[in-house]
Symmetry: C2
Subunit: 359 residues, 2 copies
């Protein structure tokens, strides 16, 4: 098959590490008709991934066109070096790109041309091959991070892999990538952790007042600390740089709050609003005018089903959906986000079917 | 009607301020068969609320059994004082309790016995009477905050109002309340604002890597800065106290990150996990064992409807629901949270109906 502009990805593809990401890449490559080889330190993971149709165990001495290393952060450089020695182009799918490159420059400096790091933005709180799916990359950004001595054909091949998986390749330098994820992922994660940390040990009476906001802010803080330790350890410099900025922001905020400087607080709040608006919209394009329709849904079996069946019959596409998933309420408030011009007719049609609509 | 244990709430109830909260209280009181009087500085809001069946304009010289003040934070003390002078028991539904009480002690010290503050935990990004609903309080905590000289009958009457609205009264001192909301609402809000603030002005290439995590963490930061200025201004002391704690946490985190102290980072991450677990579960009771079923849903009209119709036919109750609402993906991943013992059969039954299930 042809893999879009650039170099053809014809296979075989060798996936090293059959966790969630590795197995998902393998499934996507199989979906595209490519031959896929698998290897994993855990024979059980390997068997499971093969059983899911993700590929076959790598043959003795086999040299793949492209090897995809999908192992834990601390093991990436070693696994990439081993793959480079076997031959072919090599990428990895780790969350941090600078540190493994540095380590590789020490391990196999003469083979670096065939290595191009990458990072599909398709993480998950789940793990293991059973959580895998070829669909998890669809429409997602996939950072591709060539370094100074990467061969252009190697870069093109990794971009072809991203497209085969349904993702959008985004080319960045390894250094730029690490600064970007520090900002859009690692530091947000840490601020969620600090927020949640201040709830630990708080009195039950106080915690009883928790609403949806604090649940949203702290949700990611429940993720696996062992994995995050490795990620943060590998991206120390960029994370620390931003945390220092945040420290400055926090100092100014505290000064404004204690000093009764409401205008100062207001400026910080306004900057936050601007930040939420900076996050790109659907498919990276301009944000279409959307409107929300709020519907009260009793917590009985089948009620959500009935709502969505009605919406389906009315024929309006739901662009996005939030449930007020505060578990303390027997009646949920469902927010249906639809195209602006469809909202009013959806409200009317749902009300006519006896749903309680909140504007 | 009888309003549960304690003093009978028999009406009339006078609601001052017909925004989202005031109109919702009025609708809930009407639902319980009580006579409800309304007043608002905006004749348009008053007309809209009356039109929704929330009550009738307050009669000249009318004295209600209970007056509920639901006006913006800065106007609360004045409106409560005016209501106390008319007579009857008075409460307000503002987000901060200490400051208005202090102001009232200056305005009407001799009338304070009839005042008991309260705060339903049912905020919203929306506003105005059209967003109101009697359902928004169902199962929610409603803080009731008597002060040292509140009459016990006044406290009982306000707790009766909370129950009439379907909420669970939680009794706290005004001081305790303000410390609690600083922790579970105001400081989480501010950390979301600081996280979002660091996205404003970032390069498009970097922002392109934004995933679901940063969207969750920053969501509340999009709320109205003008309202939050007032809330934070009224709760300066408690907010500042906690922000100083956060400042200490951030300093320790930064030290651990820059010093390569992975164990130190790990401890902070673990404390975050403990914090997420401290948030109470359904109806404040113990958290039942739940399991998640992940389903891939194409972004076409009717697909969600088809999924929920199938779940409804299978007969499993959905306890909670998340959509991977990253708008960048044509295929959404829907997480259905169900009772642990129903998960496996739901997976099997959905797979049999050709849904792609991720474990």
């Amino acid at each position: 098959m042809t893999a879009g502009p650039g170099t053809d990805l014809t296979g075989p593809v060798h996936v090293v590490g059959t966790g969630l990401l590795g197995t998902s890449v393998a499934l996507a490559a199989r979906r595209a008709g490519l031959e896929v080889w698998l290897s994993d330190a855990s024979p059980e993971h390997l068997r499971t991934a093969s059983g899911l149709g993700a590929g076959t165990p790598v043959p003795e001495g086999g040299v793949a066109q492209l090897t995809v290393v999908a192992v834990p952060p601390a093991a990436i450089a070693g696994a990439v070096a081993e793959a480079l020695r076997r031959g072919g182009v090599v990428t990895d799918v780790g969350s941090v790109k600078g540190q493994p490159l540095e380590q590789l420059a020490g391990l196999v400096p003469e083979l670096l041309a065939a290595y191009v790091g990458s990072h599909p933005m398709a993480g998950s709180e789940r793990s293991g091959p059973l959580a895998a799916s070829a669909a998890i990359f669809d429409g997602r950004p996939w950072a591709v991070t060539p370094h100074a001595s990467s061969a252009p054909e190697a870069t093109a091949l990794v971009e072809a892999l991203a497209r085969v998986c349904g993702a959008e390749p985004v080319r960045l330098s390894p250094h730029d990538h690490d600064r970007a994820v520090a900002r859009v992922s690692h530091v947000p994660h840490l601020l969620a952790v600090l927020t949640a940390g201040r709830l630990a040990g708080a009195s039950t009476d106080h915690l009883a007042l928790s609403g949806q906001g604090v649940r949203d802010v702290t949700r990611v803080a429940a993720s696996d600390p062992a994995l995050w330790r490795q990620i943060l350890g590998a991206n120390r410099v960029a994370v620390a740089e931003l945390l220092i900025d945040v420290q400055g922001d926090l100092g100014r905020l505290l000064e404004a709050v204690t000093g009764g400087d409401d205008d100062g607080v207001g400026e910080i709040l306004a900057r936050g609003v601007a930040g939420t608006e900076a996050i790109p919209g659907k498919h990276g394009g301009p944000v279409l005018p959307m409107a929300s329709v709020y519907v009260a849904v009793p917590d009985h079996p089948g009620e959500l089903a009935r709502l969505f069946a009605d919406v389906g019959e009315i024929g309006v596409n739901i662009e996005d959906l939030y449930i007020d998933h505060d578990p303390a309420r027997p009646v949920g408030l469902v927010e249906l986000v639809v195209r602006d011009d469809a909202a009013e007719s959806l409200r009317t049609a749902l009300a006519a079917r006896s749903w309680t609509i909140h504007r």
